[in-house]
Subunit: 294 residues, 2 copies
């Protein structure tokens, strides 16, 4: 496994791989790697001959400096995860390499980036869209893999790749979960034991909503009330947002659900030294489950 | 010469060229081709094995709908120019191909795009940066060639390519001029004979400023007064902007010029049925010419 720190070196490697007729997959990460990332690598490997994992904690996507400072950095452990997962190249640039002196170009996605995390984290998706465009430029992949846990991010990046006419397939990877259902996330390691226990309310709320839809519930507000009730069961949890939105456009769902709808959650869980913000989601299919819709 | 109208077909062609070890050059244009464009093709040819000219009148870079409607469209003549210039592929997409249904991604360059044409044409450079990023994604060139007549545009695109870590060389091509000095431009054909005659004041003003600097003048305001006086010699000309700015950062030049400085002009020339906006520029070198600077 090679560790590359400069854009120029990564591009030379990409050119060589492509010249040899080999397909390249990129798995962009912010490090603090876990089994979820390893599963992205596995999916990348199925679709390419060379798998590159980028590790870069992108400052421009953090609206909260405390969150940036607290973001876990575990580079040596990350390299071990990559080695175990069979990664070919780790791209680990510094900020100067990704944002050259005088950098002033931004990439922005419109309506898809406005609600949810776009509303509660101003500038977040501009930072994501900009750094992902850069990473795609640096790694020149045929395919890039992103986790479905970050549902809106995946939608934004799919849109970006299509809109900018990038000849790169964007692949979503299913969310991996702990035995109790908690979605794997680098932020989970910041939960103290009691907060970790209570964090399970996110997936409990998703399960409850899915079960309700399967049981015939189509009313948006009743479903959201059910979600809020589930979250309220955890005294340390405070909802940032809990919304039902069209699974494709992310427009607000109608009062009576019909099309595929994403239930998107962001929840702060109190934990020392500071609250941890967790997200999760589930796509609900009102037409194909439950049997009660017309 | 092949004419390609879809992004997918152009990308397949680019992949085949690259797989064969051939270098690709892109010359992005809005059609209405003239000898200036042919000179860009010549420069492209020197740097690549395959030259692609794109012809696309990009609606998102026009702040003025009248200007968009009046922009000359001469597709058959353009193909003849391309054929004569030895172009390999003409990429002529429609707007739907460049802006797929639901497109909502924009690329924006910061400080470099704010003054001059950025100030007088709101949104112009967002449109330029976005469409150029798309064209680079579609054509996958090793090199792209842009005219120096659009000085700020060239600076914006150089910055964009560096910032987005695109492995694409951006090459500037010298401005071609008519025998009387008028810079070649697709807009010139919209000048009636008297306006065409008066349009020469732009280059006269540039010449006068350059001569003054060569003669030792370093005072910003006196140089600009000289420029305004030259333009005023043409009754049909009205200055949109006439500015002296740092040749690299495009920051306002200091009161006493020292570093390389671009004199950038945009002038409306009255002509039936509507005024024609012309731009031109000259880089002044206060330190290396004139001999009077310290």
């Amino acid at each position: 496994m090679d560790v590359v720190t400069t854009v120029a070196a990564l591009q030379r490697r990409a050119d060589a791989e492509r010249a040899a007729g080999r397909r390249i997959a990129l798995v962009p990460t912010m490090g603090a790697l876990h089994a979820g990332h390893a599963s992205l690598v596995k999916i990348a490997r199925e679709r390419a001959d060379m798998v590159c994992v980028s590790i870069f904690v992108n400052p421009t996507q953090f609206d909260d400096p405390n969150d940036l400072a607290a973001y876990p950095r575990t580079f040596e452990a990350d390299l071990a995860v990559c080695r175990d997962a069979g990664v070919d190249v780790v791209f680990a640039p510094d900020a100067r390499e990704m944002y050259p002196d005088g950098a002033q170009t931004t990439v922005e996605v419109g309506a898809l980036a406005e609600p949810l995390c776009g509303a509660s984290r101003p500038g977040h998706f501009r930072g994501v869209a900009t750094v992902v465009t850069k990473l795609l430029g640096a790694a020149k992949p045929h395919v890039a893999v992103f986790g479905e846990k970050d549902y809106q991010q995946l939608a934004v990046i799919r849109r970006l790749a299509r809109d900018l006419l990038l000849d790169i397939a964007i692949v979503g990877a299913p969310t991996l979960r702990e035995p109790d259902g908690l979605a794997l996330s680098s932020r989970n390691r910041r939960l103290d034991p009691e907060s970790r226990r209570q964090a399970v309310v996110l997936v409990r709320a998703l399960d409850a909503a899915e079960a309700a839809v399967a049981g015939g519930e189509r009313d948006r507000e009743r479903l959201l009330a059910l979600v809020r009730e589930q979250i309220a069961a955890a005294p340390r949890a405070r909802i940032d947002y809990a919304e039902l939105r069209d699974a494709h456009s992310l427009a607000l769902a109608p009062e009576r659900l019909d099309d595929p709808t994403v239930l998107a959650l962001a929840v702060f869980v109190d934990s020392a030294p500071q609250p941890v913000r967790l997200i999760d989601n589930r796509v609900l299919h009102p037409r194909t489950r439950g049997g009660l819709s017309s």
